[in-house]
């Protein structure tokens, strides 16, 4: 080719067409596919990206003669057509003929050029210990993650796609993660949800388009294609699951205190103006929706930014847990009557706590608060529904969260719309004060749980420093209740307010900003000697040896996990059964959102912990358990396992 002109690769990119060669061979001769050398990636004005060859290219094809030949010569003919472009494009074609003598032996010709171009062919994908590739579909983006220490040494790494004709892809982008993984993002413009991987080559070298580049061929695993369920029928079913799950959330222990107060609100309002009840009920419902929609949007945002998304992910952030602890404590103190919370617009009315005479804003924040507290509890049905939604598009996630919000809001909506049903609830009276105080203790119990989570994430020191902050916060609450009262003069109120703010901000800065931030992240104790901590390597090696493996994925903040462990997995009967069947027990701790665990959760389509998987051994298919275990279920599955293994 004339310098700067180019022909195209098998996938030409945004413009151009690949060179074609049609062979006309004598009967019995066979020809293989074109073996394409690693192309250059070229950019043209207007964000046009093409893959092709400058100057010269050799397209190799293997021609196999039949077992026996007659005659002295044989003619190999081909019709080649190509497009060659610089600023303009010119199509070309040629009829080529080659007469070769038939002989028992031959001396190879043109060895230098053949060996040079053989070296520039992509190689087969290396074995998994050298490089591992995995694909994920995130909406309209395919994400290829390559884990390879070898690759990390090359400053230039790129993915050149070889999509099927019906798949329209856009320009891949390369990202290097801090842990040496390389992530290639390929926007695809094909709505077909079954497209979850592409063929292509990973090109790497010292420079983009450099002469020393190498490449590995990547073949899209066909098995991935069927991974995510995408039937519209299933969508409605999962949406219903989301609704039911949202409804059940109301009864989960972490939500009950807030919810019971809301019911009190209704009791107080009973007999009052119907409009007011409706307004307050709707404000509460709006609070629920606001949180869920906000959460959904945040998750969609994170997802489109390429982050792994999961339910209750915010609990993996220790600062979120500290903030939650503070809110829970302040709320508890309010219930005990140490101080009253007055929201700005109602300040002059001297509001008696959130529940006595709430405004619409109060109701709204109550709704938000109830839902924030709900997230560490996954209710039955919710895991399945979210597991489905997280693999789907942003819209599906949003709609799913709206369904959950609707499920959770459903009873309040009913009560607000039909105040007559309030008559079924008990009459208001002094007993409500006592129940309120009692609920305060329930919140303190929640606080203990949150502190335990912090301890698991950051160690004992973290509990101590955050407790110091909480103590200062309590003092501030007391100051507010005792001194910032309507009878005090404006000056003394102002002075106390300043002191109070200094106390909260100062202790927050010192205990949380300084001391707490310095507390080290600790690995959650995976106790009970016979559990081994999860690593992908351990699992792989156990499975390779044909062992039966039980996986338990848990987190310090996961109450369902704790229940399953105590009530099922650590019971004598189940422990015995594990031992009898020689099952390797592996436990993974997701308290700090270990990405290796996130990955395996995703493989099984689960949005978070708990997750229990039994590999029956001898390479049989894994069995996924429901979120809530029962002894009989685990024992039953363990029995079938031994039968399966024995049958092999």
């Amino acid at each position: 080719m004339v310098p700067n002109w180019h022909t195209y690769w098998k996938f030409p990119g945004d413009a151009g067409i690949p060179t074609e060669i049609n062979w006309k061979l004598p009967d019995g001769w066979k020809v293989g596919e074109i073996q394409w050398p690693i192309p250059l990636k070229l950019n043209e004005p207007g964000d046009i990206q093409i893959y092709g060859y400058h100057d010269e290219v050799l397209l190799l094809q293997e021609i196999t003669p039949p077992a026996s030949l007659t005659g002295n010569t044989v003619q190999l003919a081909a019709e080649a057509s190509w497009l060659v472009c610089e600023k303009i494009c010119i199509p070309g074609n040629a009829n080529l003929k080659l007469d070769l003598p038939v002989a028992a032996q031959s001396a190879a010709a043109n060895e230098e050029i053949f060996s040079r171009y053989r070296r520039s062919l992509p190689q087969n994908w290396p074995e998994t210990k050298v490089a591992r590739a995995s694909w994920q579909r995130e909406g309209n983006e395919l994400r290829l993650t390559v884990e390879s220490a070898a690759l990390a040494n090359y400053p230039a790494a790129d993915f050149f796609p070889l999509p099927e004709p019906r798949v329209v892809v856009s320009h891949p982008k390369t990202e290097r993660a801090s842990d040496g993984k390389i992530i290639f993002r390929v926007p695809i413009e094909t709505d077909d949800k079954n497209v979850s991987a592409l063929n292509g080559i990973i090109v790497f070298g010292q420079n983009d388009n450099g002469p020393d580049r190498n490449a590995w061929s990547l073949t899209a695993p066909s098995s991935i294609a069927a991974a995510a369920p995408s039937i519209p029928d299933a969508f409605w079913k999962y949406l219903l699951f989301g609704f039911i799950g949202g409804f059940i959330l109301n009864l989960m222990p972490c939500v009950l205190p807030v919810i019971s107060l809301k019911i009190f609100g209704f009791i107080q309002h009973a007999g009052q103006d119907r409009r007011r009840i409706l307004r307050s009920g709707l404000a509460f419902v709006a609070g629920i929706f606001a949180w869920f929609i906000g959460l959904a949007l945040l998750l969609i945002g994170l997802k489109s930014a390429g982050r792994e998304i999961t339910w209750a992910f915010q609990f993996t952030n220790p600062y979120f847990v500290v903030a939650m602890s503070a809110v829970v404590l302040v709320f508890a103190l309010n219930l005990f009557g140490i101080f009253e919370i007055s929201l700005p617009q109602f300040a002059n009315r001297g509001v008696l706590g959130w529940t006595a005479k709430e405004g619409d804003a109060g109701s709204f924040f109550q709704g938000v608060f109830a839902t924030v507290l709900a997230t560490p509890c996954t209710a039955p049905f919710l895991g399945t529904a979210l597991g489905f939604a997280f693999t789907q598009s942003g819209w599906t996630i949003l709609v799913m969260f709206v369904a959950i919000a609707a499920g959770m809001a459903f009873p309040y909506f009913l009560l607000a719309a039909q105040p007559a049903w309030l008559r079924l609830l008990p009459k208001p009276g002094p007993w409500m004060l006592r129940v309120k105080q009692l609920m305060g203790f329930l919140l303190l119990a929640t606080l203990l749980f949150l502190l335990a989570v912090l301890g698991a994430e950051r160690g004992v020191e973290a509990i101590i420093w955050s407790s110091c902050f909480l103590l200062a916060l309590s003092l501030a609450c007391w100051m507010k209740g005792a001194f910032i009262v309507p009878t005090a003069s404006a000056i003394s109120r102002g002075v106390v307010m300043v002191l109070l703010l200094v106390l909260v901000l100062g202790s927050g800065y010192f205990f949380i900003g300084n001391k707490f931030a310095a507390a080290k992240t600790v690995a959650y104790e995976i106790g009970h000697g016979d559990w081994q901590p999860f690593t992908p390597q351990l699992l792989e090696s156990e499975l390779k040896q044909g062992h039966a493996v039980f996986l338990d994925f848990t987190a310090a903040w996961c109450i369902t996990c704790k229940y399953n462990e105590t009530a099922v997995l650590e019971t004598a009967a189940v422990r015995d059964a594990f031992q009898r069947h020689g099952v390797t027990k592996i436990k993974g701790d997701w308290t700090n959102a270990d990405p290796a665990i996130t990955k395996i959760l995703k493989q099984f389509g689960r949005p978070g912990v708990p997750m229990y998987v039994l590999y029956p051994g001898n390479h049989a298919e894994p069995i996924l358990f429901p979120e809530l275990l029962t002894q009989s279920l685990v024992l039953e599955k363990l029995e079938t396992v031994s039968a399966q293994v024995a049958a092999k």
């Binding site: 413009a15 151009g16 067409i17 207007g46 964000d47 046009i48 472009c85 413009e189 969609i300 489109s304």
Partner: protein, 202 residues
């Protein structure tokens, strides 16, 4: 209030979903432009609201464009669908000095020579319209519905070659998209990989 909040949030969600797109995605609003055609008239997408509009990226020197004009295929399509009330805008986004750039006179001469039947041949020497559609090829085709939404984006047909003899055996995606649209159906194959020469932007 609640519905307003919901609508606002949904709008935010919808707009974030679009950031990654390359050419404006099928189903989204077609970008507007205001350019002069070879006859000196101003052409825009918005002035044809209420009608189907075809955008065809054009470069008379490109072998793939010649394939469809030399065989009379493109003219036939233009005639058939402009006859049914569809607006057909051919757009030349080649920059001055590059292949396919046309002055108004040259453009009119080409129209006469090739007996083209488009509504207008729009001149886009700065590549403004081309870049806003991320038009990559000649021909690169877009079909816009009467509401101003893109309903088809991609190739002219299914055989990505410069060879005119492939036209008869190929499926013409634009024809199918227009027929389906005019029959009130959704376009079955709304997004294909365009093929051709690169658009000659500066």
């Amino acid at each position: 209030m609640k519905t307003k909040l919901l609508t606002a949030l949904l709008a935010i969600a919808a707009s974030t979903a679009l950031i990654a797109a390359d050419s404006p995605a099928v189903g989204t609003n077609a970008p507007d432009f205001s350019l002069t055609d070879s006859k000196g008239k101003t052409q825009s997408v918005s002035q044809y609201k209420g009608k189907y509009v075809v955008l065809e990226w054009f470069n008379p020197e490109c072998p793939f464009v010649k394939k469809h004009y030399g065989s009379g295929n493109m003219q036939k399509l233009q005639q058939e669908f402009t006859g049914k009330g569809v607006v057909w805008l051919s757009i030349d986004s080649s920059a001055p000095g590059l292949e396919g750039n046309l002055t108004a006179e040259q453009a009119n001469a080409k129209i006469a020579e090739w007996k083209t039947k488009q509504t207008a041949l729009v001149l886009d020497p700065d590549g403004k319209a081309g870049r806003s559609y991320a038009a990559k090829n000649t021909p690169h085709m877009f079909v816009i519905n009467p509401e101003g939404k893109i309903v088809y984006e991609g190739a002219i047909d299914s055989k990505a070659t410069p060879n005119p003899s492939d036209i008869t055996s190929a499926t013409n995606y634009v024809k199918v998209a227009l027929e389906e649209s005019l029959a009130g159906k959704t376009v079955s194959n709304a997004n294909t990989k365009p093929y051709g020469c690169s658009v000659k932007y500066k």
